[in-house]
C-alpha cells in the first residue's frame, strides 16, 4: 500500500499533527516528531512493503492483555497490514515515539484522525507509550533495548521459513547505551541475519538531556561495524540519503542506518528548550501561546485554537 502523498508531505503532516496535539494537550513528544518525521514517513511511504490494514481505522478500545482467558486478543500490527511471507514487518523500538508513529499512520491513511483523539485516554488502546495492542505495534518495546533482539529472532525465523519479507526495527540512539543492543548485533551478524535492518534516529537526546552529558557512547558507527553490521550514517532529513542507505548491499549481515537528526527540525523555536527536549511541557500559558504562534508559523499552519480546551 502506497500513499498518494509525497514522503515530504507526509513528514510535514506528521510534524503538524504532533504539534497540534501537543498544543491542545499542554505538552508532548514534540522533539521526536522533529527528528523522526522523515524517517517514519520514509518507512511507511517508501521503504517498507506493507499490505492494507486489517484493523478498523478507528482503533478499538483496550480489550485486555494476552492470557489464556482472552482468546480474541490481538496486537496492533494489523495497522501495518497482514502477516504474510512477502510483506515486511516493523517494530517501533522506542515506544515513547508512539505519538509520532500514530501521526504517521494517519498521514499514510492507515488510521483515522479520530485515533489520535484517543491518545493517552483511559480505556484506550492508543497508549502514550506504545503497547503491543496499540496501533502499528506488534511487540512491547517500552523497556528500551529489547526491540532489535526480537527483530533478529523474528528475522531468523522468517528466513528459515523462506519468507521474502524483511524485518525492520526503528530505533533510537539512546538504546545503544543498553548492552542488549550490542548482544543483538553480534548475534545477528554471527547468524548471518541479513533480512534484518534498522533505522536509528540519532538525535543525541535522551530523557535526562543531551546524550554526551548523560553517558557518552562515542563512535557508534565504528562500534556497529565492529560488532558485525553494515552501518552507514546519513542526514535524517535528507530523503535521498535515506533511500541510498537502504539500497546498500548487506549480504550475510544486518544493515543499520544511523539517521543523524536534529531534535528541533521544522520547529526551530524549540531550540530555546535545548537540551531538555525529551518531553516538552509548557511552563505557562504565555510560553504556550508564544510557542503556538511561532511553531505554527514554521509549520505553515494557523495557530491552534486553544480556547477549545484540552482534548
Amino acid at each position: 500500500m502506497q500513499n498518494d502523498k509525497t514522503t515530504e508531505e507526509i513528514a510535514l503532516g506528521i510534524r503538524r499533527r504532533v504539534f497540534v496535539h501537543s498544543m491542545r494537550n499542554n505538552g508532548g513528544y514534540l522533539s521526536q516528531a522533529c527528528s523522526a518525521a522523515e524517517q517514519l514517513a520514509f518507512l511507511y511511504n517508501e521503504a517498507l512493503n506493507l499490505g492494507d490494514p486489517t484493523l478498523p481505522a478507528v482503533p478499538k478500545p483496550f480489550a485486555g492483555v494476552p492470557s489464556a482467558e482472552n482468546p480474541d486478543y490481538h496486537t496492533g500490527a494489523g495497522y501495518n497490514g497482514p502477516v504474510t511471507p512477502h510483506h515486511d514487518r516493523l517494530f517501533i523500538a522506542p515506544a515513547h515515539y508512539a505519538l509520532v508513529a500514530y501521526a504517521t499512520l494517519i498521514e499514510v491513511g492507515r488510521m483515522d484522525p479520530e485515533g489520535l483523539e484517543m491518545f493517552n485516554k483511559d480505556g484506550s488502546s492508543v497508549e502514550m507509550i506504545g503497547a503491543e495492542h496499540s496501533p502499528g505495534m506488534e511487540v512491547h518495546n517500552g523497556t528500551l533495548g529489547i526491540g532489535l533482539s526480537t527483530g533478529a529472532g523474528l528475522a531468523y525465523g522468517r528466513k528459515r521459513r523462506g519468507d521474502t519479507g524483511q524485518v525492520c526495527v526503528f530505533m533510537s540512539d539512546g538504546e545503544v547505551q543498553e548492552g542488549q543492543t550490542w548482544e543483538a548485533v553480534q548475534a545477528a551478524a554471527h547468524h548471518g541475519i541479513d533480512n534484518l535492518w534498522a533505522l536509528m534516529d540519532v538525535n543525541d537526546q535522551q530523557c535526562d538531556g543531551a546524550m554526551d552529558t548523560v553517558m557518552q557512547v562515542r563512535d557508534i558507527t565504528a562500534k556497529f561495524r565492529n560488532f558485525g553490521a553494515v552501518c552507514v550514517e546519513v542526514d535524517a532529513h535528507d530523503l535521498g540519503a535515506l533511500r541510498q542507505a537502504k539500497a546498500l548491499p548487506h549480504e550475510g549481515q544486518p544493515l543499520i542506518i544511523l539517521a543523524r537528526s536534529s531534535p528541533t527540525q521544522g520547529m526551530e523555536f524549540l531550540r530555546r528548550r535545548f537540551p531538555r527536549l525529551h518531553y516538552v511541557r509548557f511552563k505557562g500559558e504565555d510560553e504556550r501561546a508564544e510557542m503556538n504562534a511561532a511553531i505554527a508559523a514554521e509549520l505553515g499552519i494557523a495557530p491552534v485554537d486553544l480556547s477549545q480546551g484540552s482534548h
Partner: protein, 334 residues
Amino acid sequence: MVEMVNRPYASAFEAHALANPDVLCLSADLTSSCEIDGFRDRHPDRFLSLGMAEQNMMSFAGGLGLAGYRPFLHSFGVFLYRRPYDQLVASVAYPRRKVRLMGFLPGITTPGGMTHQAIEDIAVMRSIPNMTILETGDATEVESICAAADSIDGPVYCRVLRGAIPRLFDTPIEVGRMRELALGHDILVVTSGVTTEEALRARQALANAGVSIRHLHINTIKPFDEDALLDHIGSVTKGVIVLENHLTEGGIGSLVAEIMADHGVGKKLVRLGLKDTYAHGGSKPYLMKYYGLDAAALVAGIERLIGHSTGITEQELAGVRLEAVHSAIKAEAL
C-alpha cells in the same frame, strides 16, 4: 537398588526435536552442561548458539516464537530469569510466546554457589502472569519433560535434572496431575524435584515408626490443582509438610500455605526448604544436609507435627541412600 539413568535429557530432547520441526535448540554457552552437545553435533541446522548473552537470547526467542517456532532455551535455571528478567516478561511471558525455558541445576543441585543456584526461581516464575512451571523429579520425568513442556500454549519454565538420575516413576509427566505416592492418614508430605527421592528414603523408617504418610509428588507447580491438594489435606489428621529444593518463601510451601489459607484449612503446616538464606558451593548431599533439605530434615519436621520423636536415626536413613552411585558418575559436577 533403584535404576540410575545417565543423561536422560540428551536423548529425550533429540527425539522430541526430530519429531517436531518447529522446535529449535538454543544455547547460551552451556551446551554440554545442558546435555545438548550431541544434538548440536548431529543436527547443527536445528541448533543456535547465542553465546553468553542471555538478554538477547530471551528476546530473540520471543521473535522466534512470533515466527511460529518453539525454541527450547538451554541454560542453568538461574541464568534464565535473574539477568534477563525484563526480557523474560516483555518478550516472552506477556505475549505468551511458546518459549520453553529448560533450567538445569535447580536449587542446590549445583556446587556453583550463589551465582549458579536457582533458589528463588519458582517464586519469580509463579508471580509472572502467563507462565507455566514444571519440575522434574526422576529420570522418567526428565525423559518426558520435552513433550510436556511443548504441549503448553504459552511460555513454560522447567526445572530439569541432569547427569545420573534415579528412576522413581514408570509413567510420564501428565501436566497438571500430581503423583500420589502414598495414601496414608496421619501426615501429608508434599515434595517435588530432588526432594521426592528424600521422602521416599524416609518412607520405610516412618512406616516402621508407626507414622502413616500420604505423599504427593508435584511436577506441575503452575497451574496448580488446588482441589486435589485440598482433598488430600482433608484426608490426613495431623498436618501437612512441604520439603522443597527452593526458598520457603514463594515456593511450593508458600503455594500450599496460600491454598490452605484461602480455603480456611485449619491444619498445621511445616515448610522445609532454604530459610531466607543463600546457599554456598558444595556437593548435593552435603548441601541438602547442611540446609535441611534431606530425609533427616523431613523426619525432624514430621516429628514437630506429631509432637514426639519417631526414634528414627540418621543411620537408618543413610542405609537407603544412593550416594555411591551418584558419586561414581559425579552428577553434581559443573
